[in-house]
């Protein structure tokens, strides 16, 4: 099937006398790991570039000493993982790391999962041969979440590497430590690599790269996750518990459609309150990178819910008379299927605006491309070397789509095109080969026409498309300049895999249908393949499972949404429901994968399953009894929840749940509309877009996520606005504080939709952009 990565050529190598298979062009370290062979390594991060900071990964390849994280396997290569000389180097390296390292494992948060502890023991360092005067290194709080204890830092550069190569903020870097220089005589007397490592270590320390005390970054916390020692710890977690006291619950993040693998780590709240509490969220950081919402927005549970019989009776009554169920995409596949069953049995209408727009888009896509799902998942996007983003505010909509965009630049010598009406000053910093186009709202079709012009084989194009391909005019229209051609030629050098990321702007677009047609043509006539960002957490699952309605009136049940009778996991409804960290079930993520999530915290109230069971008289005991019933004709598989795997194997293969089947059908003949440039919006424009780290009422409930429900504007625009404004839409007004988002450029302002009570979707209607009047209160 197309979405499984083509197996690269396998070659044979020998490690410590035994023969193994390895992927061609892979680093020795990764090849060894894939074959379950241990080579010590500290500074290397899978999916990021090797930094050669630790040098402990030394091996001998064909008789030569190499760094296994940086040397690639070759056919027939003979690798020896330990020689007396290498052992001597490794031991010296660990001794050096222990020089002046504070003896504070007793209080250190990393204790028990510290790589410095582990390798010191692994290499049996029981004495110290080196010494140097210590340098005063201050503890700093870099941001609302980051706590850096320079005294513990071993300058492995994992944090800076992940921030640059994966996250893209490049918010931290190594800087001068001001430590004493090494004794020159050591150069000859101590092992060579250990000396080189120490020499560099003694000179550097980590600091925010903007020269201030604060990182001012995305606060994703990925640097905290990768830090092998206790140097980087989240401020909230610091000194609150020991790693070994925490219970790890494998789960799927509930906040955006990336559906990242996470562990909720729990322990009793306190001595007097023995209920479990989530202390932190961790991840398999070698294979998945979280954002700040996933990492820090974990305490959104519905804690005090009880089985309220009276409320339950009312709920049953409400469901019986309900004409409409209004719900969000923060819902499991199973629950979505329950709602669909209610629709089938009682004829209620199902309303979910974001999923509905995406559903229509997917339906068009199936019609015109013959595939039930988009072509690429975001791992494949990450493996491409030319990535294009259209119709999404990459930084806000989906952190992992943005990580992929960034990672392509850093790891694959890639290039990128970024088309969006809202200027963003972070994206261009991802790499040297990025061009950004701040085009007019409504000119998305022109972007696709340009892409067809740039990438497609012109002979295969329908006539009415060919007619519209006026290269110069399109470039000009989209805000490109005369230097475009030269830059583009440079960008295209040695590129093989092209990917296109599209997002919510296109689903909420008056010309969505024509846009899908253009995408289908682009895919058919070029090597550009598309990946779509589902608007919210489980929008893809809901779009596949539910038969959603466009409009509905009448008595409405709101499930975490507005309604006459409200089921709410936020604890403010007529009947309590469990939040995502109190539920088991599956979610469908943007990687087209159905992933399981588990119960981290107890929940004592009623669930949707209880209601549905009562209404349908079904014989199921748990919500997860619905897992095998997910619709196979939509690509789901009939597998029991308890047999779904949840993890990664050593070679990085993702074994979480299963991949959806991409079902093919006959593609329709395509007839493209003529592009009308006059549909562009002018004047004051508001864009429905959340601040980074905010996705829903649930992230908003979490105590470490504080981004407000406000109007976000570029610094320049914010200056010209009063502190508090009224935003007038066609169908209503909104009063908001004005906040600066330093990464926005241009005049378009962003208005969040994360609070369902504000009914922002209603205000924006069928488009993500609206003409508004902004005035003083």
């Amino acid at each position: 099937m197309s979405e499984i990565e083509p197996v690269k050529n396998m070659i044979s190598i020998t490690i410590d006398g035994k023969e193994y298979k390895a992927k061609e062009g892979e680093y020795i370290l990764n090849a060894a790991r894939a074959n379950d062979i241990f080579i010590p390594a500290i500074c290397y991060l899978t999916r990021c570039s090797p930094t050669l900071a630790c040098r402990i990964c030394l091996v001998e390849a064909d008789g030569k000493q190499v760094y296994s994280c940086n040397a690639k396997v070759k056919e027939g290569m003979e690798i020896v993982t330990t020689t007396p000389n290498i052992l001597e180097e490794r031991r010296a390296i660990m001794e050096v790391y222990d020089v002046n390292h504070p003896l504070q494992c007793g209080v250190c948060d990393q204790s028990g999962e510290c790589e410095l502890q582990n390798y010191t023991l692994e290499l049996a360092v029981d004495s110290q041969s080196y010494s140097i005067p210590d340098t005063k290194r201050e503890t700093k709080n870099w941001s609302s979440v980051l706590h850096y204890d320079a005294g513990l830092c071993i300058v492995c550069e994992r944090c800076t590497t992940v921030c640059k190569d994966m996250i893209g903020d490049s918010a931290i870097k190594t800087t001068k430590r001001g430590g004493s220089p090494l004794d020159k005589s050591l150069k000859g007397s101590m092992p060579k690599d250990a000396y080189a490592m120490w020499n560099k270590l003694q000179k550097s320390i980590i600091a925010p790269s903007n020269g201030t005390e604060y990182t001012n970054c995305s606060d994703c916390g990925e640097c905290v996750a990768v830090c092998p020692v206790g140097a980087l710890v989240s401020r909230d977690f610091q000194y609150t518990t020991n790693a070994w006291d925490l219970k790890r619950i494998p789960a799927t993040c509930a906040h955006c459609s990336s559906g990242c693998q996470i562990y909720y780590e729990t322990k009793p709240t306190s001595i007097s309150d023995r209920r479990e509490k989530i202390y932190r969220v961790t991840n398999e950081w070698n294979y998945v990178s979280l954002c700040g919402a996933g990492r820090f927005g974990y305490d959104f549970e519905n804690r005090d819910a009880k089985k309220d019989k009276e409320a339950f009776r009312k709920a049953i009554e409400a469901f019986k008379k309900a004409e409409v169920i209004n719900f969000t995409s923060v819902i499991t596949n199973e629950e979505a299927l329950m709602l669909q069953s209610l629709k089938e049995k009682f004829g209620v209408k199902l309303i979910n605006r974001e999923a509905r727009a995406f559903q229509i888009f997917l339906d068009f896509y199936r019609e015109y491309s013959g595939k039930s799902l988009y072509s690429l998942d975001f791992k494949e996007v990450m493996a491409s070397d030319f990535v294009i983003s259209l119709g999404t505010s990459l930084r806000n909509d989906n952190p992992n789509a943005r990580y992929a965009f960034n990672n392509v630049q850093k790891m694959n010598k890639g290039a990128g095109l970024y088309f969006h009406p809202v200027g963003d000053n972070l994206v261009p910093t991802f790499g040297r080969n990025i061009l950004t186009f701040t085009h007019k709202v409504g000119h998305e079709e022109a972007v696709l026409l340009l892409l067809i012009e740039l990438f497609s084989n012109k002979d295969d194009l329908p006539k009415e498309v060919k007619e519209q391909l006026d290269r110069e005019k399109l470039i000009e229209l989209l805000g490109g300049d005369s230097k475009f051609e030269a830059s583009f030629a440079k960008m295209m050098k040695k590129k093989e895999k092209f990917s296109l990321i599209v997002g919510e702007d296109l689903y909420f677009h008056p010309k969505a249908k024509n846009i899908v047609k253009l995408i289908a043509i682009l895919e058919k006539t070029s090597s550009v393949k598309v990946a779509m960002i589902p608007p919210k957490t489980n929008s893809l699952g809901v779009a596949l499972i539910c038969d959603l309605d466009d409009e509905a009136k009448g008595y409405t049940i709101g499930y975490n949404a507005l309604g006459d009778f409200r089921l709410s996991a936020l604890g403010d409804g007529d009947l309590d429901a469990p939040a995502m960290n109190q539920q088991e079930g599956t979610l469908t993520n943007m990687h087209k994968r159905v992933t399981p999530t588990n119960v981290a915290l107890e929940y004592n109230g009623y669930t949707l399953h209880d209601i549905v069971k009562e209404l349908l008289g079904s014989s199921t005991t748990y919500t997860i009894d619905w897992t095998p019933k997910l619709p196979v004709d939509k690509g789901f598989k009939s597998i029991d929840f308890d047999s779904l795997p949840n993890g990664y194997s050593n070679d990085g293969t993702e074994n979480r749940g299963y991949l959806l089947n991409n079902i093919t059908s006959e593609a329709k003949e395509i007839e493209v509309d003529k592009f009308d440039e006059t549909i562009a919006l002018d004047g004051d424009i508001a864009y429905r877009c959340n601040p980074q780290r905010q996705f829903s009422d649930f992230t908003n409930k979490a105590h470490q996520i504080f981004e407000e429900f406000a109007l976000y504007a570029s610094p320049k625009r914010a200056e010209s606005l009063p502190k508090r404004v009224v935003v007038e839409f066609d169908n209503g007004n909104l009063e908001l504080d004005v906040k600066v988002d330093e990464r926005i450029e241009g005049d378009i302002v962003a208005i969040p939709d994360f609070k369902s009570s504000k009914n922002i979707y209603e205000l924006f209607g069928a488009s993500r952009y609206q003409k508004v009047i902004i005035r003083e209160v």
């Binding site: 494992c105 007793g106 209080v107 204790s111 029981d126 004495s127 110290q128 041969s129 080196y130 010494s131 140097i132 005067p133 210590d134 503890t139 401020r235 610091q238 000194y239 609150t240 518990t241 020991n242 070994w244 006291d245 009793p268 306190s270 001595i271």
Partner: protein, 207 residues
Amino acid sequence: MGLEKFKNRNVGTQNYKKLDLTHPPKSGWCRFKQVASRTFKPELFVGLWVTLREMINALFRGKMHTTQYPLEKLPISPRYRAIHEMLRLLESGHYRCIGCGLCEKICISNCIAMETRYDENQRKEVSEYTINFGRCIFCGYCAEVCPELAIVHGGRYENASEQRASFSLFEDMLTPIDKLNLQQEYQGFGAISPNADDNIKKTPLAY
């Protein structure tokens, strides 16, 4: 001594000797006679006199032979494991516990619980600490594992209480600050061995 005798569990063939007991009185009159003679024999007063004499000796003549518990208690070995104490640093008076959680982890009856936090001085503060003495089996592991010799076993062995489970909080176990000068260094389980210095390798230092 051989064990053969004990291994023979066949009671019937063992060498028991029957005591020559007088036969119990048969008639009612005989029974009355036995009661009367036992009641009025002077042995009773002999016994009472012995008791009285010893009481007078003990109370007024200073010839006490027993420990006057609870007024007096016998000294116990430092290795005795009674109710825990939390020691302080002698210099600063700060509690020794660093909140490492090792005692909590090692406790086999799972009766230690603690809360820690990041304090204003950038240190790990033990904000609450408790041992459930209803479950504690006084195994001494906590004292042995403690890297700071902070938690130790004290000599207070009276732990009768109205409830089966009784809790002790940090302050209950902590050396009162005004009694710091009376704090004894711990000699028992987990204390540093007398030859500890010989077992340590020196670390080169560059200052």
